[in-house]
């Protein structure tokens, strides 16, 4: 295993990105026929598909809330999404991610509109290359809009981190594995509120603030792409002659 790998050379990263540059992102809304809303997203080497079902009556019944809807996000990694085959099924990591994504989405969906219902969001990671939770949440947001679910904002997620002692935006696979810190966040771009914030590794307070600002900046860039993807899909529908 290479541990003496140089992550930054002449101000450029392994994949020739600048320190504050995102990986290429492609978003497509409404790709699945049977789901109420869906989204396919490619973010560097990540390939994610998100599907929204509902609002529908929540089962089992004891999970129902008579005042509001519950949001069930299910994050799942395909067995073939990583180099070594991943054992299929939910594990500790995917349950954690499902939970934090559910909670982020719950704060943005107008849940009071559908009492006793559940809104199910399935996030399937087809190909993984670091930053899948950000990619998953970003795709889920587009799928929710596509499903016509009332929301206060379109959430967006992005990560920043620290490699070779420098704060950088959107860690790639090797940067994540051999870097010093990873800071995925999700925000509501209209208000700037933070919906999700996790951190792995060590950062000083200054570095943390720097990384947070950088990640928020990245979020706004991606937010524009999300909006463009939704508009493109529905502008196209209109033009059918």
């Amino acid at each position: 295993m290479k541990t003496d790998i140089k992550l930054i050379q002449d101000g450029k990263r392994l994949d020739n990105r600048r320190l504050d540059e995102l990986r290429p992102i492609k978003i497509e809304a409404g790709v699945l026929h049977r789901a109420e809303g869906s989204c396919y997203l490619e973010w560097g080497g990540n390939k994610v598909i998100a599907a929204v079902y509902g609002p529908r009556e929540a089962v089992p019944r004891h999970t129902q809330n008579p005042l509001r809807a519950i949001v069930n996000a299910r994050y799942n990694m395909a067995a073939f999404s990583v180099d070594d085959r991943k054992r299929p099924g939910p594990d500790r990591r995917s349950r954690e991610i499902s939970k934090v994504i559910s909670e982020a989405l719950e704060n943005i969906i107008i849940v009071e509109r559908y009492p006793r219902a559940s809104i199910d969001v399935n996030i399937e990671i087809l190909d993984a290359e670091a930053g899948t939770r950000c990619a998953g949440l970003t795709a889920a947001a587009v799928a929710l809009v596509d499903a016509g679910i009332p929301m206060k904002d379109i959430p967006v997620s992005c990560a920043a981190g620290k490699i070779e002692g420098q704060v950088v935006l959107d860690l790639g696979k090797d940067e994540d594995n051999y870097g010093q810190a990873d800071l995925p966040i999700a925000i509501s771009p209209r208000t700037g509120q933070i919906l999700l914030l996790q951190m792995d590794g060590h950062l000083t307070l200054d570095e943390f603030n720097q990384a947070l600002d950088l990640a928020i900046k990245g979020c706004y860039t991606i937010s524009e792409m999300q909006k463009k993807a939704i508009m493109e899909k529905y502008q196209k529908v209109e033009e059918v002659k």
Binding site: E36, G37, G54, P55, R56, E57, P66, I110, Y114, P115, R116, A117, V145, D146, A147, G148, I149, P150, M151, K152, D153, I154, P189, R190, K227, I230, M231, Y234, Q235, V237, E238, E239, V240, K241
Partner: protein
């Protein structure tokens, strides 16, 4: 933007200020500003602003006529899927027949289709439907198709203009449920034509002067048939 197409808005899009506009359906107000809450078509005038959804579940409203499919027959009631977020309850008192306790299956069974009216929607969104109104009965024969519930007003047209057009040119019997289910009965060719036309309307639902365009189209096809 020309008047040929309508403007699409997405959630969180700024639509105006509460000072000079009234926030309507599909919008929410935060700190004196009006934002869109759903993906939809903007419907704004000088006084108020609305967003008409283009996708999403059917939101049941009292007095709506719907087409439901029985999910389950219980001792003294049926559970009916009306395409909403929740199943609706159809009680034996709400049907025109005299049903004995426990004999609900003799009248309506799982998979049967009924035309019904939404009789009650409470705060918890518990739904009740009834068959006790004009022209409500168990559906026999014909074809049932599903469309996007939000497109139903376009299928019906202004004061039923579009639907009467379809009936006139094809001679079919058509019942449009507010929940996006449409029942059609008639000759084989007629049904086919209605279904094709309805899907066309659904696709083109955002353009102006649609009723006239559809009428022209039906006229051409009518000549071909005769």
């Amino acid at each position: 933007m020309t008047k040929e197409q309508r403007e699409i808005v997405i959630p969180s899009q700024l639509l105006g200020d509460v000072k000079n506009k009234k926030a309507g359906r599909g919008t929410f107000v935060e700190k004196g500003k009006i934002y869109a809450e759903i993906l939809g078509v903007l419907n704004a005038s000088s006084e108020h602003v609305d967003v008409i959804p283009i996708k999403g579940r059917y939101d049941p409203v009292q007095q709506d006529f719907v087409i439901g499919i029985i999910i389950e027959a219980m001792q003294s009631s049926w559970l009916v899927d009306i395409n909403a977020a929740y199943p609706a309850l159809l009680h034996v008192n709400e049907v025109p027949w005299d049903v004995d306790f426990g004999e609900t299956e003799k009248y309506l069974n799982t998979g049967d289709c009924v035309m019904a009216k939404v009789s009650q929607v409470d705060q918890e969104k518990k739904l009740q439907i009834t068959l006790k109104d004009r022209n409500l009965y168990k559906v026999k024969g014909g074809r049932l198709i599903d469309i996007e519930p939000q497109k139903v007003p376009r299928i019906i047209g202004k004061k039923g203009s579009m639907i009467s057009l379809l009936k006139k040119y094809t001679g079919c019997r058509i019942f449009v449920g507010q929940n996006g289910r449409i029942w059609i009965d008639g000759s084989y060719e007629g049904i086919k034509k209605v279904i094709d036309t309805i899907y066309l309307i659904e696709k083109k639902s955002l353009s102006y002067g649609l009723t006239n365009k559809i009428e022209d189209l039906l006229k051409i096809n009518a000549k071909e048939v005769h």
